[in-house]
């Protein structure tokens, strides 16, 4: 195993664990909801996900993916999310729809 890969995994894994576990140790509900730190923390996650979503979809709409499977995949993700409110189901359903229409 490459040491730099293990180091990256350890650093990211430790931070992810800290983000998940520390709120149980230190009650973050004490932070002022209107304080800038609360707002920065609340906005960082949505900003990261929006950035990653934009970057992952951009190559597809630029022509890297055939339009019909792409439309079916995106439609399935949105439809399943609206129907069941499940990230896993929407992800799997979107991939399944993309692959199925691709095969036709």
């Amino acid at each position: 195993m490459r040491p730099e890969i293990v180091m990256l995994a350890l650093a990211v894994g430790a931070c992810t664990w800290a983000f998940r576990a520390l709120p149980f140790r230190f009650d973050l509900t004490g932070l002022t909801p209107e304080g800038w730190l609360s707002r920065l923390l609340a906005a960082t996650g949505p900003a990261a996900i929006a950035a990653l979503c934009a970057v992952s979809v951009l190559p597809l709409v630029q022509g890297a993916a055939p339009p019909t499977p792409l439309g079916a995949g995106l439609g399935a993700v949105i439809g399943l999310w609206v129907w069941r409110r499940s990230v896993v189901l929407a992800t799997l359903g979107g991939a399944l729809a993309y692959g199925a229409v691709f095969a036709l």
Partner: protein, 230 residues
């Protein structure tokens, strides 16, 4: 002890839908990691240690694109900040003093595990650390075994099945789109629009890595400054 064991078992059962969903997504992570040059041991170690699907897919994409390790690390850590919101939401149901072992089971507090736990609590289940441990462990084992299987199958394993390969290739955009839908709210809309807009602009002008960083910073600053300038 019997009560804790029963709660643990109920957690495992409650986690079965997550298990069924996680295995194929983790399999596609293993395939993607193998395709990007990760060994099976490296891909499995990533799942064992990091255990965050979105961060892991992104790590593979960043490292394959030659992104410097520090930049990749910063981006991946920033992605995980959203998990800070899960603890306080569960604490409301748990009450003080009933999360003594949270430092162990919170390792498995992924988006979906949090969603299942919160759903069960909303339907009247009493909070239990043993239930959280069972739920989290079932999902974790599915994630790690799926990654391992995908990495062993390797990048070329699906060459004979182009439709399956195409579907798995769509898994990452589908995952990020689903995650985006899950956090969509009127309050966060300016943050999301600014982050996506800046990301697209900088990606087209410079590179995807610069676009992600610029978009994340712009979105986070929008959230921090919004009320002050309103």
């Amino acid at each position: 002890m019997g009560e804790a064991r029963a709660q643990f078992g109920q957690g495992v059962v409650a986690g079965l839908p997550v298990v069924l969903g996680y295995f194929p997504i983790a399999f596609s992570f293993g395939v993607a990691a193998s395709r990007a040059g990760f060994s099976a041991a490296e891909a499995t170690a990533f799942s064992l240690i990091v255990y965050s699907g979105a961060a892991q897919f992104l790590a593979v994409a960043l490292l394959a694109a030659g992104t410097p390790l520090l930049v990749a690390g910063f981006t991946l850590v920033a992605m995980g900040v959203r998990h800070l919101a899960y603890g306080p939401a569960l604490m409301k149901h748990a009450g003080q003093g009933r999360t003594r072992r949270a430092w162990i089971w919170a390792f498995g507090l992924t988006d979906e595990v949090f969603g299942v736990a919160l759903g069960d609590l909303a339907r009247g289940r009493r909070f239990s650390e043993a239930f959280m441990a069972g739920l989290g462990l079932a999902a974790y084992l599915a994630w790690v075994s799926g990654s391992w299987a995908g990495a062993l199958a390797g990048g070329g394993a699906l060459a004979a099945y182009p439709a399956v390969e195409a579907g798995l290739g769509f898994m990452l955009p589908a995952l990020f789109l689903a995650l985006l839908l899950s956090i969509l709210s009127r309050r966060q809309m300016p943050v999301i629009l600014i982050a996506a807009g800046v990301t697209l602009g900088v990606t087209l002008a410079v590179s995807a890595t610069a676009g992600i960083l610029a978009g994340m910073l712009a979105g986070a600053l929008t959230g921090a400054l919004r009320r002050a300038t309103a």
